[in-house]
């Protein structure tokens, strides 16, 4: 892993955390050649799209592969019984 790679990942991570359109701290970032892959789950399509814009702004010229998924909601599960 070279220094440029590490600094780019950190720069993207910081931007995704700071930008109010995203504010995500746990998006996984992988840089492969001239591509940035974004992996993880976000709450909304709006936020998913914003992640691409944020990365494009901090890393111009790099292709963004947005693989973020929208969090799905399942039905509430059966209760767990806790006896003191």
């Amino acid at each position: 892993m070279n220094a440029d790679y590490q600094y780019l990942v950190a720069k993207i991570q910081g931007a995704l955390a700071d930008d109010p359109r995203v504010n995500m701290l746990d998006i996984r970032i992988m840089v492969i050649q001239n591509r940035v892959h974004l992996i993880g789950e976000v709450m909304s399509e709006e936020r998913r799209m914003a992640a691409t814009d944020v990365v494009s702004a901090v890393a111009p010229g790099i292709e963004v592969r947005n693989e973020l998924r929208i969090l799905d909601v399942s039905l509430p599960a059966e209760p767990e019984v806790i006896i003191d």
Binding site: D26, R47, V73, V81, I83
Partner: protein, 254 residues
């Protein structure tokens, strides 16, 4: 029996999308109390808090919450607390409240908590003032939690946090960020005071279930991990606990 519903890390944006609200509407059919484990907003914006409040206003059971790190980000935490209060949510920070459900009582002691790490790999109040301040902040919050748990004289006692008190429920997160996900000081305080259940959020990639060194069940209810609008825990008293409730606390060794 008291039914506790809980979720954290719902990270509301500026407009309510009904994604969770549609399930929360009928929450009273499944639970007697609703706990929110912080990170209610995306970055602590007031519009985000109002969007959440819109969804919470329809809930028909008592609601308690702590704030998470995202809710502090815009330095509007006081205003967020007010918005939530208007929606019927009691936000707890080193405080506790109790309610009666049918013929039983439940007390909730809450704090956001903070980081520092876990025994064997944790920060110490040593060195630069900034490092000391970091650890002292966690110590202070843990102390507040212990005091508020000790004040409760209810059948059941629940500790509500944002940060995790144990490692078990953050397993799955990257090891490098463990010190930012919680602190053993919180678990130590809870074990000293006693509780029936600990609820927290913050660890989106963690595990739901864990236990403190003292044997108290811990549940991570971060929504991105649960993928459910809430989890429900039915608190029941054992026959031993029922007989011994004349004591101050509901936690009785079986």
């Amino acid at each position: 029996m008291i039914r506790v519903a809980a979720v954290g890390d719902v990270h509301f944006s500026d407009t309510p999308d009904g994604k969770l609200g549609q399930y929360w509407e009928n929450l009273h059919e499944h639970a007697d109390v609703f706990l929110l484990a912080g990170d209610l907003t995306t970055h602590g914006g007031l519009r985000q808090a109002r969007a959440l409040a819109c969804e919470l206003e329809r809930i028909q059971v008592p609601m308690f919450s702590v704030l998470g790190n995202h809710d502090y980000h815009s330095n509007k935490n006081r205003e967020i607390c007010e918005i939530l209060k208007d929606a019927g949510v009691r936000v707890l920070e080193a405080e506790s409240e109790s309610i009666t459900v049918r013929d039983e009582t439940i007390g909730i002691a809450g704090t956001s908590g903070f980081g520092g790490g876990f025994a064997g790999a944790c920060g110490s109040a040593f060195g630069e003032p900034e490092m000391k301040a970091f650890i002292h902040h966690t110590e202070q919050l843990a102390g507040g939690l212990e005091t508020s748990l000790n004040r409760l004289n209810t059948h059941f006692r629940v500790a509500l946090l944002h940060y995790s008190p144990i490692k078990d429920t953050i397993a799955g997160e990257r090891l490098e960020i463990y010190p930012f996900l919680g602190s053993y000081l919180l678990a130590e305080a809870i074990d000293r005071a006693g509780a029936d259940l600990v609820i927290h959020g913050h660890a989106h990639h963690g595990q739901e279930k864990g236990v403190t060194a003292g044997g108290i069940p811990v549940r991570n209810v971060a929504f991105p991990m649960l993928h459910r609008p809430y989890a429900v825990y039915d608190l029941e008293r054992s026959s031993v606990a029922r007989r011994d409730f004349t004591r101050n606390h509901s936690v009785v060794p079986a």
